[in-house]
């Protein structure tokens, strides 16, 4: 910059103009009260000192600092940057506060602690979906906790502080899609490494979530988003509602595996060209089964095998290994048949067809079109089937094709000319069996049988009946 006379004049003019513009305001605030912005609270308001009530000794350290300081500091860091380390720091500080609270107050404030932790968890999982005011909301939660710690009677601040804080926290927690569970520890490392800067940061944040969880719960719980911070930090036992929810979830998981995954898996297994889809479904089923077992293990004694399950589902519910001890038979009547040279059992309520079909049925085909069961030109399939298929209309029945089961270790065409056909069907999945001989009914109560469920849920064998020293595998559709 040169400093010639015309420029000096020009600069002087600028300075004068600016001085004239701003001079009346310069020094504002020195001698007069705050010219507070009209529309919104001051930015620094949250940092202003808070006159806190005296804290109990359990929340004070030897050097006079209180247990809230680390959390407050962590929040300030979070306010600047939502990062994995900052979130971890905040969560551990929050857990520390919770641990130091008086027991009765800790219980009363459980929801606040849980919501604050969930908000932090949400920041770790999906920072983009969390409002930028989340740190401020957490700050308000902290102030409430501080006030509650010093309060003689917590009910006095319930309406004025606790309820509004709960409301704020609830509204601050974003609705994160279920898909986020895939991000938790299941993302392939290569993709994570290849992520861009921002994505990398998010992924790092995600990674920290399960590790930093203050509650030692199985990862599957966190993965499904079922568990906030469990109430009752001292006992660490899930609440009854939570147990019920997890039990219901296990039931749904079991049904989903049986009704949705396995039929498709079986279908793809038998359909040339669908090997990849079959592999995908197999993997999906295995993962879901692992998750189910983990949930069962986590619930331990609280697991209710048949709490929310239909009565007839005992066979597959009992697939869990922990309870696979022999017991009384779950069914009064079991249909026995010779199939592939062995005696097997079927569940009567699943049998939709049991007869010697007309001659046009190809006995060696891997699939059985239901329309082949029709008798005569004007016959209807609906007339020859029973059970669940009876409720389907004729047009639907005509389109149904049932896979034909092959006895283990026996390939090729097995049935004889007069082999009876038995079809079991349940909830959109079925299986046809060419039997060696007609069936007979077994009254399990009269024969004093024992029942042992089979752990391997990938087979049709639901379990084994032990009658008079003889073991009879019971074949059942998984969809039950």
């Amino acid at each position: 910059m040169t400093d010639k006379a015309p420029e000096r004049d020009f600069h002087a003019e600028i300075d004068d103009a600016i001085d004239n513009l701003f001079a009346p305001h310069a020094g504002a605030g020195q001698n007069k009260p705050a010219a507070a912005p009209p529309d919104k609270p001051a930015d620094q308001a949250s940092a202003a000192p808070v006159k806190a009530p005296p804290l109990p000794a359990s929340l004070l350290s030897a050097d006079g600092t209180d247990a809230f300081s680390p959390f407050e500091e962590a929040l300030l860091s979070l306010d600047w940057e939502i990062s994995a380390s900052n979130i971890e720091k905040a969560r551990s500080a929050l857990a520390e506060i919770h641990g130091n609270f008086e027991v009765d107050k800790a219980v009363a404030l459980t929801e606040i602690f849980a919501l604050m932790d969930r908000l932090l968890e949400a920041m770790a999982i999906a920072p983009q979906s969390v409002s930028t005011s989340a740190p401020k909301t957490l700050q308000e939660g902290l102030q409430t906790l501080r006030a509650a710690a010093g309060a003689e009677d917590i009910s006095l601040i319930e309406q004025t502080l606790i309820d509004p804080t709960l409301s704020e926290l609830r509204s601050a927690i974003p609705n994160i899609p279920k898909d986020y569970s895939k991000l938790l520890g299941q993302a392939p490392p290569s993709k994570t490494q290849a992520a861009s800067g921002t994505d990398q940061k998010k992924t790092d944040a995600v990674k920290v979530a399960p590790a930093s969880s203050a509650t030692p719960v199985p990862s599957e719980f966190a993965e499904e988003g079922l568990l906030p911070e469990l109430p009752g930090a001292s006992s660490r036992r899930p609440a009854t509602a939570l147990i019920e929810a997890v039990n219901a979830h296990i039931t749904v998981l079991g049904k989903c595996i049986a009704k949705r995954i396995v039929p498709l898996e079986n279908l793809f297994a038998k359909t040339p060209g669908y090997e990849k889809l079959h592999a995908i479904h197999t993997e999906l089923r295995e993962r879901m089964e692992r998750q189910k077992l983990n949930l069962i293990k986590a619930l331990d004694a609280d697991y209710q095998a048949d709490a929310a399950a239909p009565v007839e589902s005992a066979a597959w519910q009992s697939a869990k290994p922990a309870v696979s001890t022999a017991a009384g038979c779950p069914w009064r009547i079991v249909v026995l048949a010779a199939w592939g040279g062995k005696t097997v059992g079927f569940l009567p309520e699943q049998i939709v067809y049991e007869n010697k079909p007309a001659g046009q049925v190809r006995k060696c085909a891997p699939f059985l079109p239901m329309k082949k069961l029709k008798r005569g030109i004007f016959g209807k399939i609906g007339f020859v089937v029973q059970g669940e298929l009876r409720s389907l209309d004729e047009a639907t029945l005509k389109t149904l094709t049932i896979p034909v089961a092959s006895p283990q270790g026996m390939a090729g065409c097995v049935p004889k000319a007069d082999s009876p056909l038995l079809i079991v069907f349940k909830a959109n999945s079925g299986m046809a069996f060419w039997l060696d001989e007609p069936t007979e009914r077994l009254d399990t109560t009269a024969n004093g049988c024992r029942w042992e469920p089979v752990v391997d849920a990938s087979t049709l064998v639901a379990g084994n009946l032990m009658v008079n020293g003889k073991t009879i595998p019971v074949l059942a559709m998984r969809s039950i």
Partner: protein, 206 residues
């Protein structure tokens, strides 16, 4: 880059308030806006989230009046301080003619101040500008907290952290009370208008 409209004889200078999240940048602008006369200020545009944080930027045009026939307007911007808005922050910085770095004196934010200044330097470099070449003042905000139990940094510490390399003018301020806000603005406005006119206008009118 200042906008100079020779046909209308208008000069628009862009001053950006930069700094870490929640250091008080928006409060600075709100204080200016609420204190200025209507004829000297324009409409303040604030794009916010539903919370109280500046998500994009605040724009506050101030009219300096006519100097040698040129109508000079100053536009004040702030940037979102949060790290996650790096792209927006960089965008707002584009074409800045002057900078106010608002520092947060809280002890716990010491590193954040340094990181933010470094972030500013890096972003400017991407626009081909050096921090040493552009008008800059540093404001040490929240001085009202000094007398409270909240641990704060001293001016010497802030100077050592932020101004040892640049040696620019610094101002102590408390944006919520208005203290130091206009002193900061006056200084950066002078520097910026001089910078812009030296760079563009004087060459044009010679």
């Amino acid at each position: 880059m200042a906008l100079i409209d020779l046909s209308k004889k208008e000069i628009h200078c862009k001053i950006v308030y930069y700094g870490p999240g929640r250091c008080g940048k928006t409060t600075n602008l709100l204080t200016v806006h609420s204190s200025m006369a209507d004829n000297a200020r324009g409409k303040m545009l604030t794009i916010e989230t539903k919370g109280d944080r500046t998500l994009f930027f605040d724009l506050l045009p101030l009219n300096l009046g006519t100097i040698r026939g040129f109508n000079i307007r100053i536009q004040l911007y702030t940037v979102p301080g949060q790290v996650m808005y790096a792209a927006t922050r960089k965008l707002v910085l584009k074409g800045a003619d002057g900078l106010v770095f608002v520092a947060d004196p809280l002890q716990v934010r010491r590193e954040r101040n340094i990181e933010s200044l470094e972030d500013l330097r890096t972003n400017l470099l991407e626009y081909g500008l050096k921090l040493e070449e552009i008008p800059l003042v540093i404001q040490y905000n929240k001085r009202d907290l000094v007398d409270t139990p909240i641990p704060t940094l001293t001016v010497a510490e802030l100077d050592a952290d932020l101004n040892s390399a640049y040696k620019v003018k610094t101002f102590e301020a408390s944006a919520v009370t208005g203290l130091g806000v206009f002193e900061t603005l006056r200084e950066i406005s002078k520097q910026t208008v001089r910078y812009v006119t030296n760079k563009h206008l004087l060459h044009e009118t010679k």
